[in-house]
């Protein structure tokens, strides 16, 4: 199984066991999230947070120039996001290979902005 398949299998296991992403984020007292990654995992996370108390404000993706909307949310590049005044409780990175780079860039520019990694958190629900 590749990395993405493992995440999906774990996600399915979480669903079957009734573990919810919104409950997970509530434990951090985070209400508003920015999703990094306009792909499958980003989409599933957005769906999972629909109709919960956790809101998604926008999406970040390196292909923002090609796709300015994703699941009805505005899409920005990371640089655009960091230069903006968009407030968020945390960025959730859903892509599997970008976390360290995103973390480093965000740390340099908006140090107090938490950056969370879906691949790690999926085991903690």
């Amino acid at each position: 199984m590749d990395e993405k398949q493992k995440v999906i299998v774990k996600w399915l296991e979480n669903e079957v066991k009734g573990k919810k992403w919104n409950i997970y984020f509530e434990s951090y007292e985070y209400k508003n999230l920015t999703i990094y990654g306009a792909g499958d995992l980003g989409k599933y996370l957005i769906w999972a947070l629909h109709n919960t108390d956790i809101s998604v404000n926008c999406v970040i993706d390196h292909r923002a120039d090609e796709k300015r909307k994703f699941e009805s949310y505005d899409v920005y590049t990371l640089d655009e996001f960091l230069e903006s005044s968009i407030e968020t409780d945390a960025i959730v990175v859903t892509t599997l290979d970008a976390y360290e780079d995103v973390l480093t860039t965000v740390t340099r520019n908006r140090t107090d902005l938490p950056v969370m990694f879906l691949r790690d958190m999926i085991y903690e629900l």
């Binding site: 409780d89 140090t111 950056v115 903690e124």
Partner: protein, 669 residues
């Protein structure tokens, strides 16, 4: 290749081990099976274990050595490695029942279930193997042929009569367990269960001390066969541990001539494996300490020491009955285990204490943390999440239906070991990086909350950017005396606090099989777990190894770290191995044996849990790295095992060299 893999001892051990670890050997074997052993290939893919085992017993290569005292062989081609789930390993099988009663005594004679049928079928398969060995013996020119035939005949129906015969039975059980790919197979309390055979044989004039010593030498040499095959992640990590000495109900120390003999032989053979763990208590006599220190001083990496004064009370508190607690053995490295009755897996995963602290910096709103207490509270928050992940790993473990393990584990009369048949089916985890976390927290306390020189956001930046913009702070952190391992109240208190946190979230947990979870502070993965890690605020750069077990390379004195270890609280479920790792120079130990003995006597009374000594000099290690051909016999202690220095990857060699240099004061710790 087939000759190479079937050789007991050879110069290709490291090469074969590398091929095994990379998967290359497995690919070759699969191809070989498909081509030359199609029936076995098909059976191994589609049949349950007890049927594959039968085929193995019917067909595996029998290897009888002309000159060797014992019959002991493995056949890599017929190694059962179609696991289809989590196989049992890191255990000590029940040697005693087979020694005392033979196969007949192991059969289940009442009851009627599919399990019982499969179980007895497994016993029949073992009998098939015995008969094949007898036939091969009859056709061989092996030394003491008739005696060996008698031994194997006796195995079918009755108990062993003599010392040498009992050892042959140990080896036979041992080879079956290895052959069915149960890894890290311990030997248990050899001096205890062989003691009566030895005494009896000497009494009737069947054996004398010298003969017994030679027999034991051959025993240990046989165990060292197939070193590459038995070695797990690294060469030397075979788990072949012999437990010596013990306490009785009154706190008296029990040992016998075999205890001292085995320690002596381990020193003389100067092999990294098998290894010994010596149990100690307040009444351990001088001659046992003397033998142990002589052995440790030789640099062979054995014995590891286990303090019954600390271990047994913890086992009792955990709910283990006294009789079993007094007879504890250990799994591969140091984790207390009830040998022969337990299929508890004591090393199911590793708790990385640094992960919650990393996550705190990455995921938390740091500006909200305005005190050290709040920081600790947030650390606990992330630790709990980490532990949830650990429990999920344990929850997800699947165990293979394993009648071989059931035959050699007491108690599996109604249910297979994988279904909870054994008396003990707990789960254990090791841990890593606690020392680095404690030191990091103390530094954060000083720089952020006391001196207010930096904010948590500043620290976050330094850690994520691997100290790139930290200026002289990295050197300052590296030069600061480390707190973990010091016997001051603050260090002990913080360490206990974190251990309490782990127990809080694990002590009530039950595995899917109703077992409990235990953890320990010993850290086998101090290098591997650090790969890909971020920097930490104890002055460790990203990816650099974590601290080794309970140690403090910057502390000058052994008493500090022993006192520290003794002051920690191993109650509830915290007894899954807690090893103090001491670095010492060969000449220091050799010149100060009496003082070292005093140190150990004192340490037993203080209450350390377990201890191992790495007796190395930096000069020799450095030379061995540059000229391995001059130091082919150099043995070092890695995590819970010994290995030839030349067999280790460079990353491990470098850690040992650095620790030796720090110990000798040649570099700043």
């Amino acid at each position: 290749m087939i000759e190479m893999v079937r050789k007991k001892k050879g110069s290709n051990d490291l090469l074969l081990h590398d091929k095994k670890q990379s998967g290359e050997l497995y690919q070759w074997k699969e191809k070989y099976k498909r081509e030359y052993l199609p029936e076995y290939y098909n059976i191994s893919k589609h049949q349950p274990l007890y049927k594959i085992f039968k085929h193995i017993c019917q067909n595996m290569n029998i290897h009888i050595c002309r000159e060797e005292r014992f019959v002991y062989f493995l056949d890599y081609i017929y190694l059962l490695d179609e696991v289809r789930g989590h196989q049992f390993g890191n255990l000590t099988p029940d040697y005693v029942s087979f020694i005392e009663s033979g196969l007949d005594g192991l059969k289940i004679t009442s009851g009627d279930s599919e399990y019982i049928s499969n179980y007895n079928d497994t016993i029949n398969s073992i009998e098939i193997l015995i008969n094949r060995i007898i036939k091969a013996l009859k056709n061989s020119q092996t030394s003491n042929r008739e005696k060996k035939i008698q031994w194997f005949e006796g195995m079918k129906t009755s108990g062993a009569l003599h010392f040498e015969e009992a050892i042959q039975r140990i080896l036979f059980v041992n080879q079956i367990i290895w052959q069915t790919d149960h890894r890290l197979v311990g030997l248990g309390a050899v001096d205890d269960y062989l003691g009566k055979f030895y005494e009896n044989d000497v009494k009737i004039g069947y054996l004398n001390e010298d003969q017994a010593e030679n027999i034991l030498k051959d025993f240990l040499s046989s165990l060292h066969d197939y070193y590459w095959l038995k070695s797990n992640m690294l060469m030397g990590d075979t788990g072949q541990i012999i437990v010596l000495g013990r306490s009785d109900d009154n706190g008296e120390y029990l040992y016998n001539k075999l205890t001292l003999m085995i320690i002596r032989i381990i020193r003389e053979l100067a092999l990294p494996d098998p290894k010994a763990l010596l149990r100690l208590n307040k009444n351990t006599p001088d001659e046992v300490f003397d033998a142990a220190i002589d052995c440790m001083a030789s640099g062979v990496g054995s014995p590891l020491l286990s303090n019954d004064e600390a271990v047994i009370p913890r086992l009792l508190e955990f709910g283990i009955p006294k009789e079993d607690a007094l007879h504890y053995t250990v799994s591969a490295c140091w984790e207390p285990l009830i040998g022969g009755k337990s299929v508890s897996l004591n090393n199911m995963t590793t708790l990385n204490f640094m992960r919650p602290l990393e996550n705190l910096f990455k995921r938390d709103k740091l500006s909200k943390i305005d005190s050290f207490d709040k920081l600790l509270a947030r650390y606990e928050f992330y630790l709990e999440k980490n532990l949830r992940a650990v429990k999920r790993v344990i929850d997800g473990a699947i165990f293979q239906y394993d009648t071989v393990m059931s035959v050699f584990t007491k108690g599996c009369m109604e249910k297979d070991a994988s279904q909870g048949g054994a008396e003990y089916f707990n789960a254990g985890i090791t841990s890593v990086a606690l020392g680095n976390v404690v030191d990091s927290l103390f530094n954060i306390k000083k720089y952020v909350f006391e001196e207010r020189e930096y904010s948590l956001l500043d620290i976050k930046k330094m850690l994520i950017l691997d100290f790139a913009e930290a200026g002289k702070l990295l050197e300052e952190l590296r030069a600061r005396k480390k707190k973990y391992g010091l016997d001051d109240e603050e260090s002990i208190e913080l360490t206990r606090t974190i251990m309490n946190m782990v127990s809080k979230y694990t002590t009530d947990y039950r595995t899917p099989y109703g077992g409990r979870l235990k953890f320990g502070l010993s850290a086998p993965t101090y290098i591997d777990a650090a790969v890909g890690s971020n920097a930490s605020f104890d002055g460790r750069k990203a990816g650099e190894p974590y601290l080794v077990h309970i140690s403090n390379d910057s502390a000058a004195s052994y008493t500090q770290v022993l006192n520290f270890s003794a002051a920690l609280d191993y109650c509830e479920n915290r007894f899954n191995g807690n090893v103090v790792d001491l670095m010492t120079n060969p000449s220091f130990m050799a010149d100060n044996k009496e003082k070292f003995k005093n140190l150990l006597v004192g340490a037993v009374n203080q209450g350390f849990f377990q201890l191992q000594a790495n007796v190395v000099s930096s000069g020799i290690l450095i030379d061995a790295m540059e000229h391995p051909e001059n130091h082919s016999g150099l043995i070092v202690r890695v995590w819970g095992f010994s290995a030839y220095f030349s067999d280790l990857p460079d990353s491990y060699k470098k850690v040992l060299i650095e620790r030796a240099l720090k110990n000798e004061g040649k570099i700043v710790a």
